[in-house]
Symmetry: C2
Subunit: 183 residues, 2 copies
Amino acid sequence: MADGKYECIDKKLIHRGAIIDYYQKTMSLPNGKTEIWDAVEHVGAAAVLAVMDDGRLLMVRQYREPLGRELLEIPAGKLDCKGEPFEQAAAREMSEETGYDAGRIEHLLTFYPTVAYSNERIEIYAAFDLKKGQQHLDDDEELNVETWKISDLVKMIRDGEIVDGKTIAAVMIYAAVYLHGEY
Amino acid sequence: MADGKYECIDKKLIHRGAIIDYYQKTMSLPNGKTEIWDAVEHVGAAAVLAVMDDGRLLMVRQYREPLGRELLEIPAGKLDCKGEPFEQAAAREMSEETGYDAGRIEHLLTFYPTVAYSNERIEIYAAFDLKKGQQHLDDDEELNVETWKISDLVKMIRDGEIVDGKTIAAVMIYAAVYLHGEY
């Protein structure tokens, strides 16, 4: 790296949105120049790869406006507030979205979806010993719960039928670590 | 799903940023209510898992302002303009960032980092038969090129030392498909 460094010399709030806040940062660059950079701030989120006793995974299918269609994803949601423990949010979102509660939750990976311009951080867990409870969706939430074999999910990732980033990462790591005992 | 559907009944540009445009969409929901949703628009991006003849992978280490530190990632960059072929952008970004040109490029996966509020799409490729050329960084770009063994990268994902979403997905799929011949 050169002698210079990256430094934020001004930060201006452009808009406080529903789930993200959008800022402009004035950056002093290593080459001595100044640039305006996008800066999205997000409270953080948790996601869960929920493993049923027969090995199938609980997935949710829901409409995603940016793509204009329904996507198959692992259950996930943002923290209720900054500082909420990620594991607590993971358990809550799984329970609300799928109606299942986890007897045991293990951390699977840390996932930053868009490191170039957003601080969004998603902590992803694997959940086991599931017990059927009651689905409690948010007011604006509508989704279907489905169960899938891991081998089918991996095939759908390869075929471009599953395209959600956190879901791809979670499924591929679970397949490697839990099923094949690798790494 | 219920009888209702999701419908965008108004879309307002809040700000045209450096790499993203930020909109607000007024959505009519299946439950009959109306909500304002964040909508980020992005031109799209391409990323490359570049495999050297000895099996090591070309990685780039660069400063990421949202996390306030340097991250280890696969080479990537956005399309020059809407409609640029993703594969062309992948080859260009690899060449510019690492100084290597690919003799052969294969599609690896389609990755949407943030399906809840952004249309950003990243097409990820694997590149082989690399030939050393010349690094040509963008004016505001400063990064180091490193070579890593796939087993070390997988370990760093598990240990939370690699946290970039597209890098996690690409490395895990490459490990499964190319190294273990699975799926």
